[in-house]
């Protein structure tokens, strides 16, 4: 499979009006088939960058390209191939799980038979099929997270963007999600996700970027970055 830049962030900066920038000259490239970890402290600028990538946050400085399309000028083209799972997915609480998934499927123009097959597959995998007829408001945090993950997977995105995806998931669901991420990458999907859990990043990712106070302080393949040390040691060293 030929490698292709699925996500390219060039000199992206974002400030919320104050002097300090939440993201400062961030540049990185995620190729198809990559599992790219984005690590940093709380408030380092991870979510600010991710939210700009998925078109939730407006920005003026820098450029972000998804599958060759500019997020600024061709947002729809970018969104059609991207799926996003936020850290704390606030879903439509008045919809049932199945209604929400149908909503997403309608948006991505997925046929009836296809959606049914995919929803069933992922809902069974995450063991929430029984609950799909209930209101999302009745779900636990983990169940909401699972619905958000299924909604991200049913349209088979070419870029999967996740903000702290493992928070709130039970161990089995965490394992399943990691498996799914591997499978997707094998098919050429690029995965870009933020995490605090360095062990997970070390085992899962082939590339990593470390962000501190809005700036990328280290990035590259896991081997290049760690040079035989653990990711934790590398992170703490870079963070000094």
């Amino acid at each position: 499979m030929s490698e292709k830049a699925m996500l390219e962030i060039r000199n992206y900066s974002k400030s919320y009006g104050g002097e300090k920038k939440a993201a400062d000259d961030v540049s990185l490239t995620v190729m198809s088939g990559d599992i790219y970890g984005f690590i940093g402290h709380n408030g380092a600028g991870k979510s600010t960058t991710i939210r700009a990538v998925v078109g939730v946050l407006d920005f003026t400085e820098g450029e972000i390209f998804i599958d060759g399309h500019s997020v600024k000028t061709e947002p729809m083209e970018c969104k059609k191939v991207t799926a996003y799972i936020p850290d704390n997915p606030d879903l439509y609480e008045n919809l049932t799980g199945i209604q929400y998934l149908n909503f997403i499927a309608d948006v991505f123009d997925i046929g009836a038979a296809e959606r049914e097959e995919r929803i069933k597959k992922y809902a069974d995998t995450f063991e929430i099929t029984d609950a799909l007829g209930d209101q999302i408001g009745s779900y636990s945090h983990g169940m909401k997270q699972k619905v958000a993950i299924i909604s991200a997977l049913i349209h088979e995105p070419r870029l999967l963007v996740l903000d702290e995806p493992f928070v709130g998931l039970d161990p089995k669901a965490t394992f399943t999600l990691k498996e799914i991420m591997h499978d997707m990458c094998a098919k050429g999907t690029a995965v870009f996700f933020s995490t605090h859990v360095l062990d997970v990043a070390e085992k899962l990712c082939n590339k990593v970027a470390i962000i501190k106070q809005g700036r990328i302080i280290a990035s590259g393949t896991m081997e290049e970055l760690t040079e035989g040390h653990s990711l934790e040691e590398t992170f703490l060293e870079a963070d000094k």
């Binding site: 009006g17 078109g55 939730v56 969104k79 919809l95 149908n102 309608d106 123009d109 049914e116 209930d134």
Partner: protein
């Protein structure tokens, strides 16, 4: 307890204070929004004051200026009662930050009382607008002694308390009853509708209790009606006595009863506060879903369906959004049963004119109810923390708002058509004219939907803590609602006057064109604004 209460109230007010946002945000867009909202609110307060002063001018012109204090107290009372009742679920019960607040060391009475006081402080500017304007009008015509003004102002602070407490108590009963059911949301919505409709008909019940025969003119009749109401509702009499005489007993009674009722009510509410909220915040879960044939829909339709579920899932949204539709349907049915002439006579207090001249106003009378609220005015803001979903999906903003508009059309057009048909049958309007009125009604729905969307997008507010902030007190809703209602009343008068000289069909056709143009302009404006969000 008092110290805790002050701290909590201060924090509640600060958490939703636009001034606080303005002071602390570095986002210039947000600052601009706060300023625009503030200017919008000032305009609305001014309109309300102008309306209140015009009532005083009417009273003054007919030599009935002494009826102003009672009228002022009753207007504030009715308004405070109705609006508080519509807000109790969401403000007093079933609010978002319930878990967070209850986990803090506040007793339930303090939380409930602070929530009530928060509602009171937030709505006080509206009551003050009415009261200060009426005080000015009264002062101009009656030339009272200087002591009247401070008494009037102080008592204005107490006038809304009793109706608000009564409404809160009713809200408490509704919440208490609903909390016992599995589908508490539906029960709460139905009970709330039932109470609201009862309140709307209360005035006619009072009139029926105090049949005074035919008065010579409408103002005098209204004065008699308000006098009758004040005999039943003593706080209005206390206020009036305190201002007119001035009577210290009336003044003390109003203050003492308001304070005592406040203390008693929150002792009662505090006892079951935790139970009610726990029940209202819990959801029934069947966990028995079986995957059966799923269907595919267009994006616009699926957004419209999402809006439908959003509405039916929230008692607050349902009651406020569908109230006008229910009232329109009831108006149609009642007119059909009682007859158009009788309804007109009842509403106009037997004012001496032929009911037939009101026929051209039928679409506007119905629109007064149906157009009371457009879901498009609050639904952009209601996305709130869910906004990330539509932002991150490949849905153009135009499609999103088209979906929201489609839902409002699905909601308003059937009720509009039904009520117009009922009223036209009752008023014996010819079929051809009825069809034209239906078209006019449809155009009005188009306008209401598109204009609501303009207001909703322009004054979109996503950072709300409580959905009532955008459903009931949002700038978008207020800016949509008040000019729309006043313009509708104006059009009713205009249609009545012009209907005497111009052919009804021609008049309706002209209005279809005008409304159509306004709807198209509003739609284009909404689409242009959508592009910029």
């Amino acid at each position: 307890m008092i110290k805790d209460g002050i701290l909590l109230l201060k924090t509640l007010l600060l958490s939703t204070s636009q001034i606080n946002i303005y002071r602390h945000t570095t986002d210039q867009k947000k600052k601009k929004k706060v300023v625009v909202s503030f200017i919008g609110l000032i305009c609305l307060y001014t309109m309300l004051m102008a309306y209140s002063i015009s009532m005083c001018i009417g009273y003054g012109a007919y030599g009935l200026i002494d009826g102003t204090p009672v009228m002022c107290a009753l207007v504030i009372t009715a308004w405070a009662f109705l609006f508080t009742f519509l807000k109790t679920n969401g403000y007093l019960f079933n609010f978002r930050e319930y878990d967070m607040l209850m986990a803090l060391p506040f007793d339930t009475e303090t939380v409930a009382a602070c929530k009530f006081l928060y509602m009171y402080v937030k709505s006080l500017p509206w009551y003050l607008s009415v009261s200060i304007a009426m005080m000015a009008g009264y002062g101009y015509y009656a030339r009272p002694s200087a002591v009247v003004y401070p008494i009037w102002l102080i008592l204005t602070l107490f006038v809304p308390v009793i109706p608000m407490l009564a409404a809160s108590f009713l809200g408490f009963i509704v919440a208490r009853i609903s909390s016992g059911f599995k589908k508490n949301n539906i029960i709460q919505t139905v009970l709330t509708f039932a109470f609201v409709i009862f309140c709307f008909s209360l005035r006619y019940i009072i009139d029926a209790l105090f049949e005074n025969g035919k008065a010579e003119d409408t103002f005098e009749q209204i004065s008699v009606a308000t006098g009758s109401a004040a005999r039943i509702y003593l706080p209005a009499k206390w206020f009036s006595d305190a201002v007119l005489k001035p009577d210290i007993v009336g003044m003390l009674l109003l203050i003492a009863v308001s304070t005592a009722l406040f203390a008693v009510l929150f002792r009662i509410v505090g006892r079951s506060y935790r139970n009610i909220n726990s029940a209202l915040k819990s959801h029934a879960a069947a966990r028995n879903f079986k995957m059966t044939g799923q269907k595919k829909h267009s994006v616009v339709q699926t957004i419209a369906y999402k809006e439908f579920r959003r509405m039916t899932g929230s008692t607050n949204y349902m009651v406020n959004g569908a109230l006008g539709m229910i009232l329109a349907a009831l108006l149609g049915i009642v007119t059909l049963i009682m007859g158009f002439d009788k309804i007109v006579a009842m509403v106009t207090q037997n004012a001496p004119f032929d009911a037939a001249i009101l026929q051209p106003t039928i679409p506007f009378i119905v629109y007064f109810c149906v157009g009371m609220m457009a879901t498009t005015a609050c639904s952009p803001s209601l996305e709130g923390k869910n906004y990330w979903i539509v932002q991150s999906l490949p849905i153009s903003k135009k499609t999103l708002y088209q979906g929201k508009m489609t839902f409002n059309m699905y909601l308003s057009v059937p009720f509009m058509t039904f009520a117009i048909v009922c009223m036209c049958i009752s008023a014996k309007v010819p079929v051809s004219e009825t069809l034209i009125y239906i078209v006019l009604g449809f155009m009005l729905c188009c306008f209401s939907t598109a204009w609501g969307c303009v207001c909703g997008i322009k004054h979109m507010r996503l950072d709300w803590e409580n959905e009532m902030e955008v459903i009931k007190q949002g700038t978008a809703v207020a800016i949509y609602l008040f000019p729309n209602m006043i313009a509708t009343m104006g059009l009713c008068v205009l249609m009545t006057v012009l209907g005497r000289h111009v052919d009804h069909v021609l008049l309706a056709l002209i209005l279809i064109v005008i409304t159509g143009v306004l709807a198209a302009l509003s739609y284009m404006r909404a689409m242009a604004l959508a592009e910029r969000t």
